[in-house]
Amino acid sequence: MIEYRIKVARPLKNIFTDAWVWRMALRDARHNFSRLFLFAASLITGIAAVVAIGSINYSIQRDLDKNAKELLGADLVINSSKKIDSNLLKLLDSTNTEKAFDADMASMVLFLHNQQSRLIKLTALKGNFPFYGKLETKPANAYALMKSGKFALLDESLATQYEVSTNDSIKVGNTIFKVAGVVTKIPGGGGFTSTISPSVYISMDVLDSTGLVQFGSRVGYSLYLKTKEADTQAIIDKLEPTLKKLNYTFETVKSRKEGLGDALKSVYQFFALLAFMALLLGCIGVASAVHIYAKEKREEVALLRCIGSSGWQAFNIYFIQVFCVGLLGSAIGSALGIAIQQVIPIVFNDFIPAQLQFSLSWEALLEGLLLGSIISVLFTILPLISVRFVPPLSTLRAEVKQVKVVSKTRMVAILLIVLFPVLAAAYQTQSIVTGALFSIGLAVVLAGLYGIGALLLYLSRRFFPHHAAFTFRHALSNLFRPNNQTRVLVVAIGLGAFILATLNIIQNSLLNQVEFQGGKNQSNTILFDIQPKQKEGVLQLIKGTGLPMNQVVPMVTCRLAEVKGKSVETILNDSTDKRPEWAVSREYRVTYRDSLTKPETLLEGKLQRFEKGQKDSVFVTISEAMHETLEVNLGDSLVFDIQGVPIKTFISGIRKVEWSSDPPNFIFVFPSGVLENAPQIWVATTRIEDAVVSSKFQQQLVTRFSNVSLVDLRLILNTVNKLFSKVAVAIRFLSMFSIITGMIVLAGTVSNSKFVRMKEYVLLRTIGARTKQISAITLIEYAYLGFFAAMAGVVLSLGAGWLLTFFFFKIQFSVNAAELLLVTLGVISLTVVIGWLNSRSVISTPPLQVLRKEA
């Protein structure tokens, strides 16, 4: 028996000590650089989006810390629904504080120069508000002028909309004000608030002259305090018992900052996830491109293994290449992200309080680079790992089957790839749950796109158009060439189409919802705050104008005093009581009647009339949601405090209320015969078809009943539309990143399959195809691809849109087919253009060059 040696002293080198793999990587990359770079380019847009959004977030956080006081305009703000109590003011006298006041309420304004009117928020100011930051106006001295008498300031958007200029006059309540100027910046203002309810500012000294503050009008009072820094907490401690007793709330710089920070954080999270989506798409692009790259390198690897390279050495050569270009892509992406950050304020203006400024953030830049490096490792290892197991035998025999090797590296890579989106999204949103939910959602969407794409491709094969023109048939079969990345492309491009289409469906459904409500015979105009003595006059005006009288409802303001025999105070002080504070302590507006309205259905119990004589037993009905929130049931007792008078009631019925249809709707409904003599106001609803009639009616109403507020649903529709458009611009902006990523992935694929395509074209030429036909085939191929991708995206968006409207927005699903068609056509055109641009060089390659390479 012969002794064989089976051990060899093979020197082990790692990637850092093995100069040879670096040299090979560089040599090999010379020829593949443009192609390799396209892998990396898939990352550029995603990283750019993530860095831009991240950088904005960091700079906002920084700014929030720096300018927190200017957001509130004071150290402490006390809010109340009643005039600030004199005892409280007396308490403050002994402290070293400066005071300013504001009172705001809804009111109609009449623009005298064009006789138009609308509902606005009237803000009356007194004192030197703001203590921090500036109330900026145009012209600059307008604020001082306003304080001096019957002058008003308007939010800039309002002035622009109604073409109001300085020296025009407006009528608010009974008083005519001269316009002193417009407010361009005010602490606590800006952003969405001025879109939803634009303000008119006047001096508090002239508020009473408007006659608007009377019984039933809902006025919010605020007291702004400037304290010495160290005093703030001491003052809060001193005031708190009184504030609690009075049912006042307060806000500090810290709580405002936190509140705003929270709000901005959700906005940031949403957009960060949109940006992250573009990045993940890039990752898929990278992985797919590297997969093809590794496949093509198999022959080379087999040879290298034949002449002595180890599996890891071969792997390292290509890993170095893709990692380096990945890093390059991330660097370019990060730089681009910082550049985009300069543009973003234009797109995101409406989400960001005007006081905040942007600056460059190094954290975001570093995060971008780090993220890029992680991706360049994670998403290239898996597709490249197969290189390690290429059998050297394939140098001798082309069709050696590669055995599937279960390697540890592969398992770890798969695990990390699955974890990556979860962890990265969790890091971005600072919430594991959000990260996990996002990843699951995205996985479902991607799987959906992949499934629909695969189905479409299957169908096009199954029902192949055998009788179509040669170019059409050939273009379609091109999609199925070996090593094709058609499905990945359908997913990548389809995701962009999906986001756009879903957005469109949501917007459409929301608008349709509001329009739908204004439609049919429903009310579209609501008149609030009608005093009992004005009731007849207002009704007369409605009738006189020839308008229908849809609802005339009394409204009584009250609070809860006792729930199921427990006083509200006890409930509030009991920390084990799970019922939310707001529900127990809020102000309720109730009505009285003995029947149900159209939006209401009785779920349990009955409507019970009030019968005189049976003194204690007043039976009310409650809305379904509040019955759950307050944890009260049929027969339970409630004591209402009606303007100081306690009234004990029992619940006799639970109503389901369709809140959005035919307002006003109520949580509590009393039987008639109980509240008739309580202080109350009336609400009337009507329907006005014509804009001119509406404008005339409003003008008369404002002139005769200046305190009555009119809500025009058409105006709300307008506002919703405007708001949504602003959100949509921002979403579209970010979904563009996904689309661009998809296009880069497409460009990468085209260059990946360059050689195969060249061979096809040469073959076609040899059998007599003209350049024109070859071009046609190319164009049609991309048109097919774009079509499949767009269809996958749009079909999926119909599903997602339906789910979102049904479960999340709870509105009717509505689709604008023309706009979806536009999305489809846009995606197809873009695909064709990008594909064509990348194919030109292939089409124009002389055939001989291809034959040489064949050898």
Partner: protein, 230 residues
């Protein structure tokens, strides 16, 4: 005993496909001494390439032992076998197998670079000169004809001064004139380097130029003859 470079003992290779077992090599045994030249002939499908692949450690036998330079290849890991090849083995393939992205010179240098040797450019240039490609160091494979590519492959095979050179139909893809040139270079360089040569070929004339001929048929070694060399 020490001068046995390659030793095969009862080499058997079976492929299990679907339900059938296919024995493509059946108990093949032979040994090759240092400096010997040997060719393997036989009809298509007789298992020549399979045998060559096993001898070079590109594949593992189903049973039997294969040892190269006293190293038992069966038991080694894929990477260890690659290392052994790099140390002792040279290859010439029917389809040249040059790295398309490397120049002729770089292709020749790769095996020595893998060993981590330095200052090898001169040696590689010298070898390219030897195969008549002195002026084409920086040409890429796509700029060379088939015959020229195979000459680059020869230079690459000899640069490590291998103990044994495996060639599978080295002239199979070439026309007569180029084939003759490659033959001449192959045998010439082999003599100069005193390399052991194992050559698979269909070409009986070519086989007749080696000292020994193994004839395969249906996976069996059916004849082992010494050639009457001129």
């Amino acid at each position: 005993m020490n001068d046995i470079v390659l030793k095969a003992e009862a080499l058997t290779k079976t492929y299990t496909s679907a339900e059938r077992q296919l024995t493509v090599l059946d108990e093949v045994s032979f040994e090759v001494a240092q400096g010997n030249t040997l060719s393997i002939i036989g009809p298509s499908g007789s298992g020549k390439t399979t045998l060559l692949g096993l001898c070079a450690g590109l594949d593992v036998p189903s049973s039997g032992i294969i040892s190269l330079m006293g190293l038992k290849l069966n038991a080694m890991s894929e990477d260890d076998r690659a290392y052994v090849r790099n140390q002792y083995v040279g290859f010439v393939f029917q389809n040249f197998q040059l790295l398309q992205t490397l120049t002729a010179l770089e292709n020749v240098m790769v095996p020595l670079e893998l060993r981590g040797e330095k200052n090898i450019t001169v040696k590689a240039q010298h070898l390219l000169d030897r195969v008549g490609l002195g002026g084409r160091f920086n040409h890429y494979p796509s700029q060379l004809s088939g015959g020229e590519q195979q000459r680059v492959a020869l230079a690459r095979a000899f640069i490590t001064s291998p103990k044994i050179l495996f060639a599978d139909e080295p002239t199979g893809n070439l026309d007569g004139e180029n084939a003759a040139l490659i033959e001449e270079l192959l045998f010439g360089m082999n003599r100069e380097e005193k390399t052991t040569l194992v050559l698979v070929t269909h070409n009986l004339e070519l086989a007749a130029k080696t000292e020994r001929v193994l004839r395969m048929k249906g996976g069996k070694l059916v004849e082992d003859s010494i050639t009457a060399l001129p």
